[in-house]
Symmetry: D2
């Protein structure tokens, strides 16, 4: 379970919750432009855009969950079990990538969504795990910049690229269902409603907020999609970095499962490990850990020239509160 | 619109969102024990417990929205329009208080909920505004300590004190409705469910989180009550102050209206101005403003001896992010 | 479980589903005006209005589930377990009735709702079973005529008479909750809605009927109340007896539990044993058994003079279809 | 709007509601086996199975909305606007049919679903209206017999045949969505639930029926599908023709829009014109008009030898009640 979303204020914001039952050693990782990214079937990118995101680093390779590059192009991978299908054979003339390569390849090579969409036309996702002992993760992706967002799905029916006017991605089922499902909620409104349908009933209205009665509040993939899409399409435009970042985390928090509210089949708690928000325009990653209310910031442009190696930054898991 | 809630971990936490369409100059206010609180019809409390909370200070008097005292007794007033009724005449032998006096009176005089409940037996709430030019606010209250919570309502039917096993309070209608309304949600579970009711259908489950499908996601008073009560009753027990405070804000964020999602009849945005959380055991107030993701802390015990005057502390409305 | 409702077309219609897990020998019963009805604590009615309804007859006494009298006053008793409370002692000067006496007393004595309401002012319902071996049934009642409807509840708080502008009664909880609960559904409409809230999404609308998305479809007491009230307030006015009766059964069928959809704690099927509809203006009872689609009619005025004894009419449990 | 469904008791039943805003002259029509059915692109069926169903007859041709043939194979066409796509050109070697020909062709030629499925493999639906002045109707179809059901859809993606384990069909969107959508309702049960999730709350349960709280009650295509599918999968097995037919109409009535509850964009009432139920095993059509509660029966086998011409039977629009 995860929810990714995009918000356009003066700057462009992109981020996600990462919902799982156990931490996987994720940290902020900057891939500087001189790093040089290698791929299994495609030639390496010696010169590429720098990028920052949340990742684990294995054998010196950044396995990004989500990232933004120095041009403001963003990408996130979300769990898609049972539906993701990766092909067994490379296809000549196509863009043959392992699933874990998709984010660094696109962000390394493309300056914007238009370039990314062009590249994705020929995508062939291969069933190649990063290492023998690391299983393939079933994923689908949201790729976005200020101009819009697309969803990339590789299923038994092949690779499909969908425009995503909602600016949201969650998990199963395939994206087409989610977009269709929004049609159920056309009668919801942010405006107040008359207390009820009986003019003469004398029942007093409960007050504000009844116009969106019917919005689903659970943490299923489909309900998170609807809630996020509805809130995004009704949000105010914010001004100032503090307010924009606060808004983004409010939006994520509206769909982030609180620890205990979702259990796996083994009875483990499935919850939001971290929430991230990129100011894609400025190349800043904001991130907040589950057990700490503080939002930390990391600036790609400030640090991308430090090194030609991956820069790994641990996110504090605890807040030491500063007292007023 | 507002939501108050209580959480018992190792320490006891109490807090609320304050949802309104315009700021009212609220700030953190400490009433030190030597302040001396005056009342309209009741004798002043020269010796009283110190307290901290969010308030506006008018003519040197703390008009608390919510507060905790140095013993860990907590109180919050929430909007209750159309149902709150205050009596016109004081009644001899009763506890005659103006609505704005209820929080300072109880927290000044009572060490715990048992004492507060005893005092509330004779409560008579009077239709006395703080000042001619400040209208009476229609309110009901949650009073709580580690042992439990009660709701105080003064309606046309008189003053009623309800046990609140849910540990939640929102707004209209009267409390009895909210508690009854929970009965609708007995089929919800944090555990996963089989994908659907058709064994043979072949439709794949959407994944985790479907067990609580049916939980309402809107921002009406009743739906916020249900969602908060359900999440509270399914939450994990947390350890460590950072994690406990993070959990409390996660819970508040699940019911806090995002700016734009709720409009008033005049089309103004009604949203969460601030969210507060008391560690009632330690006398610490944590608070977060709408447009700033940072949680600020203020320690009652550290500062209650500074002065015999009200200590007013402004909460920063903006975060200057610190970069890692 | 049961649902009672009222419909005003040119004539006035009143009826109900009777939902239970086992038949109790119900049949149509006419109490002719010369029958003479006896009561435990009140003087007998030697002269009374004739009435017709569904009842069991025990020891020569009509135990009505619902009935209409020759003036068009209607009454129905519905299950109210856990909330109904009957007093142990008769009160001098009050109207002291056993629960099973309420329907025959009111319909015997009152020509209309105004008279009934006046009488109900002094009602004291006594905990007297019809016979030692027949347990007291916990009930509340809807009393109605063309001018309106009231609900009568005797709970631990005493007897309360509520105006019922919805023209609906189901079961628990007390009536006030149901009326308040309607406030949740003020955003529903019979009109179509735009496909969804995303103009640019390109998702096609699913078509008509989405305006009332959010209307609950289950068979709980509260959801049946909402559904019935919403449908009643949006129904067309019908003309002609055939169309009016068809409409009434359509409305009942929208809330009548299909066999198998509701189970008791013992796993027994709880379903609609029969559905009844009175044309109260003309004194006709229409009734349909569970396992037979035919609506049978019985005319009070045609038969009330046949006898001074109760006239019992069995309702066929099976339809022999007539072929066109 | 329409809902079709199948029920397997001792006999096999199939039927539907036909929901529209205006009557189209529908009546029961028997096509005797000697009639001889002609097609635009396919050779005529001189010898074919007899069939009965609801249809309009134009220029001597039966335009069936739904029908069953003498072997028990059933078919119904339901509105599918915006999604139905018919091809412009006939394809050699395929089964080239106009949409209005699909039902008579399949029922004329196939003894069971297996044969029908084989034939449907090569289906090519052509954009040929019955007559210049009769517009093409956008439809999809359910074909069923005792062994199961399939849905036939011709969209811009081509012709697809889906197994339909739910035994239900409504309208938009395409069938795959409906089947997936069922996954949302896996937490619903016919069994009672504990009153609420707060053991200690003291709130009394509202009673039976809360286990399926969350079932949608509106008349959108998707909600009718869910409600019908859930009720079908929880229904009891019935015995005896009267009870089986009564059950079928109860099921249809649970999804049939009551007049006034659904309006078109022009403000016209969209409602159930008629409800039909075939006993497919015995070749009997049961049908009920909107404004009349009586179920009429017509026996295919009794009348198929009367003539070689179409036999048209008007369904009475009014009930003359027979009094007990």
């Amino acid at each position: 379970m995860c929810t990714a979303m995009t918000v356009r204020n003066k700057d462009f914001y992109f981020g996600r919750t990462l919902d799982w039952d156990t931490s996987f050693g994720e940290r902020a990782v900057i891939t500087p432009r001189g790093f040089g990214v290698r791929f299994r079937m495609e030639p390496p990118q010696r010169m590429h855009y720098a990028m920052i995101g949340m990742a684990t680093v294995v054998d010196g390779y950044p396995l990004y969950a989500e990232a933004v590059n120095s041009c403001g192009l963003c990408a996130a991978g979300l769990n898609f079990p049972g539906n993701a299908y990766y092909s067994e054979t490379a296809e000549e003339g196509n863009l043959n990538l392992a699933p874990y390569e998709l984010i660094p390849y696109l962000l390394g090579a493309c300056a914007d969504l238009t370039q990314a969409k062009a590249m994705l036309q020929d995508l062939n996702l291969l069933a190649i795990p990063f290492r023998e002992d690391i299983p393939l993760t079933p994923l689908h992706w949201m790729i976005a910049d200020r101009s819009g967002a697309v969803v990339v799905e590789s299923t038994a029916c092949g690779v499909r690229i969908y425009d995503d006017p909602a600016g949201v991605l969650t998990n199963n089922p395939p994206f087409g269902f989610h977009l269709q499902n929004l049609s159920h909620y056309g009668n919801l409104t942010a405006a107040p409603v008359k207390g009820d349908f009986l003019d003469e009933s004398g029942a007093r209205s409960f007050g504000l907020g009844l116009g969106c009665h019917g919005l689903p509040g659970d943490y299923s993939s489909t309900s998170r999609f609807v809630r996020a899409a509805w809130l995004l399409s009704h949000r105010s435009e914010m001004k100032g970095e503090s307010a924009c970042v606060a808004q983004f985390f409010h939006l994520l928090d509206a769909v982030a499962p609180v620890k205990g509210s979702v259990l796996t089949e083994n009875g483990k708690e499935h919850y939001t490990l971290y929430a991230s928000c990129f100011n894609a325009t400025r190349g800043v990653l904001y991130v907040r850990s589950c057990n700490s209310p503080t939002v930390w910031a990391i600036d790609l442009h400030q640090r991308e020239h430090e090194s030609e190696k991956l820069i790994e930054i641990e996110i504090p898991q605890k807040t030491e509160f500063s007292f007023l």
